[in-house]
Amino acid sequence: MSRLQVVSGKGGTGKTTVAAALALALATEGKRTLLVEVEGRQGIAQVFETEALPYEERKIAVAPGGGEVHALAIDAERALLDYLQMFYKLGSAGRALKKLGAIDFATTIAPGVRDVLLTGKACEAVRRKDRSGRFVYDYVVMDAPPTGRITRFLNVNDEVAGLAKIGPIHNQAQAVMRVLKSPETAVHLVTLLEEMPVQETVDGIAELRAARLPVGRIIVNMVRPGLLDAADLELVGTVTRSSVARSLSSAGLGGARRGGHAERLVDPLLAQAEEYAERYALEAEQRAALAEVDLPRHELPLLAEGMDLAGLYTLAKELRAQGVS
């Protein structure tokens, strides 16, 4: 199992939730995981229902069986100051740089520098060892930028390495790239069973593969329960309204004759079934499109009560049950 697990996905697919559930699943049974976020959205804090995360690693959840999830919201500016401090001992000069806008400049404008700092921090956590020589974190899970930008984000180290042909940024980028392109890393893509997210996932995988970045799994999120099967759906097309009305009536929902309670439910219920049938067919198409990519695929259910902390543990359990961790 790769020690750096990168989770990406189209906006709105729930990648932060999946990343959090994955961190929790990987922490089960006494392991330690670090969940990092790189886009300053404080999504992790929201998923774990806690206050905003500072720029420091802190324990955020306990996993079943005694494991721990730690979290870190990586801030490019702070990471750069840390980096300057570490390598150049620039205490006050760092502050002066900040005043001048150089830190802002380097982290926001200078192409790729920001991304090197973000991925660099995650890679540092992957490699960090304690005094006894053991890894501090068994796994690092990154809530990464969305599918449309993930290859550029991870590969930007290459870009910077091309741009800065020598020098410290160059070296840092090379070191980061060695981790990201190794089996130490796996990039997972979260999708929904809808056309656009699936298309983007398929495209994203092709891009990642072209950049020789290791693609891990496809995680289909928010899968709705299969309430009607193919036989039911066939019957929806042929069944008579009156027989459904009788059936509803026998279930205690009122009269089946014209204008009765049960009878008046028939049309709306059948309309919902037709809508379901349409979605069912679309979902089958999307599953087929994903199957062509030839990657391990997992499905997580849509939680009827909406996403909350309890739901996160449910998803983590589901991921474990499916052998993702």
Binding site: G12, T13, G40, A164, S243, S250, V266
Partner: protein
């Protein structure tokens, strides 16, 4: 779809039955966003659709543009990153920065629809070409620093989108511009990134990079000079001399343009504040999307930018929303239980004997099951105790018929479970929406019913436009 729900009941407040439904009516009414007056008003020149990723911004922008055009306006829709098939439906499958006229719209009202897809690198190149002499322009365009910045920087897309908006507005060829915002990490990025990019590109640091030698010559700048030469030294150390060198070359070549960047960013910002601009915040009835929408609403107010309202996409409805989830589930269980009994007894017909059936339609059977204590009694005229059907006596039934009936029961149980799922979804969406409304009761809202599939043609866009304008989360119709 051939079977339609009965809308008269679906929206009748007197019938507020299930939990989701009563929640809808217990709140003070939310102002309704009326899209048609907005897009028909000749004074509206720019509509900006913003919101977090995956909520249907691009589709909303395209649908609004089409609707406005079919109502007689000359519209251009600026999209940033449209889904392939949506782009194709508007005939803009090439990413070339040129507005193209969309064919197949109803132009009887004299309107036109044009659409374009933003090419951010091309837009940046055009700025360079417009502001530098050919020699200098080619030096800039060939600089690796520039190439990376123009194609890759996370804020470039936002900056260029706003730049393009400014250009389109200046050309004054269209009387309405509908713009989609980039899929940013935060919905606010397109407001912040242009300013950030603008102020960096002509900020202090650039001047340090440009003129490390010159600064020292000025009186009173001695201290600053020491600081600054140290800074360039540090930058050189950190970034590497060669990168710094490329950067300085780039900056020197761009020198003539720097004043322009901030000015342009400021001008675009003013354009967004001007009368004639309207913001639509797009969201889906989900926690994260609405949270992001709330941030946006607050930010627009802080920036004096005119918010027209919230477009709530993908809202679910039900034609049977008086049947609560709890009651539907209980009924489904009834059906499934009785089927098991039938199978065990081998007396499939018995359950449907007139007696049994009769009892299920008496008012007593209408009381909610214990799992749903809040469900009020139905106020319908009772079925009068007369036999509801005449054909179903249970006599002379064949095994085939019994089997068919069982499968209808199975289907019905499935329909009820499906309905229960729908009602749970409905009440969750309602709760999420109520939370937003409680925070921002002043924001006008229009709800757009969810479609089972994606939109890929003008007919689909037109349907979305209708929904935008009517603000009724009806059951979607099958796409034609």
């Amino acid at each position: 779809m051939s079977r339609r729900p009965e809308p008269a009941h679906a929206h009748d407040p007197a019938h507020s039955g299930g939990s989701a439904h009563s929640a809808r009516h217990s709140l003070s009414p939310v102002p309704t966003l009326d899209v048609d007056p907005l897009i028909e008003d000749r004074g509206t020149r720019i509509v900006v659709c913003c919101g977090s990723g995956g909520v249907g911004k691009t589709t909303t922008a395209a649908a609004l543009g089409l609707r406005a055009a079919e109502r007689g306006r000359k519209v251009v829709v600026l999209t940033i990153d449209p889904a392939r098939r949506l782009a194709q439906s508007m005939g803009i499958d090439s990413l070339d920065n040129i507005p193209r006229r969309v064919k197949g719209i109803d132009d009887s009202a004299g309107g036109e629809l044009h659409a374009m897809m933003l090419d951010m690198k091309r837009t940046f190149d055009e700025i360079v070409e417009a502001h530098a002499d050919p020699e200098r322009a080619s030096a800039i365009l060939g600089n690796p620093f520039y190439q990376s910045l123009s194609a890759g920087f996370a804020g470039t897309q936002e900056y260029m989108a706003m730049e393009k908006l400014g250009q389109l507005r200046a050309r004054d060829e269209w009387d309405l511009i509908v713009v989609d915002t980039p899929p940013s990490r935060s919905a606010l990025d397109f407001l912040d990134a242009p300013k950030r990019l603008g102020s960096f590109l002509d900020g202090k640091l650039i001047r340090v990079l440009l003129t490390p030698a010159k600064v020292g010559g000025r009186a009173g700048m001695k201290f600053l000079n020491v600081g600054m030469s140290m800074m360039t030294g540090v930058l050189g150390k950190v970034l590497g001399g060669q990168l710094l060198n490329d950067m300085q070359t780039f900056v020197a070549a761009m020198d003539s343009m720097f004043g322009g960047f901030r000015t342009r960013a400021d001008a675009t910002f003013k354009l967004l504040q001007a009368p004639g601009t309207a913001f639509l915040v797009v969201a889906a009835p989900e926690r994260d999307a609405l949270r992001e929408a709330a941030y946006f609403v607050e930010r627009l107010a802080a920036e004096d930018m005119p918010l027209a309202g919230l477009v709530l996409n993908r809202v679910h409805g039900s034609g049977a929303d008086r049947l609560s989830a709890e009651r539907a589930l209980a009924a489904a269980e009834n059906l499934e239980d009785s089927r098991i009994v039938d199978q065990e007894d081998g007396k499939a017909g018995l359950r449907n004997s007139p007696d049994t059936y009769e009892s299920s339609s008496t008012p007593a059977a209408e009381t909610p099951p214990p799992e749903a204590p809040g469900t009020p009694a139905q106020d319908d005229v009772p079925d009068g105790g007369s036999p509801a059907t005449v054909d179903d006596t249970g006599a002379g039934r064949t095994d085939d018929e019994a089997a068919a009936e069982r499968s209808v029961d199975q289907l019905t149980a499935g329909l009820l479970r499906l309905h229960a799922e729908r009602m749970q979804l409905l009440s969750r969406e309602q709760r999420t929406r109520d939370r937003f409304t409680a925070l921002h009761p002043e924001v006008a809202v229009t709800e757009v019913a969810a479609l089972p599939g994606d939109v890929h043609d003008l007919t689909g866009l037109r349907a979305i436009g209708d929904r935008l304008a009517t603000n009724r989360p009806e059951l979607p119709e099958a796409s034609a």
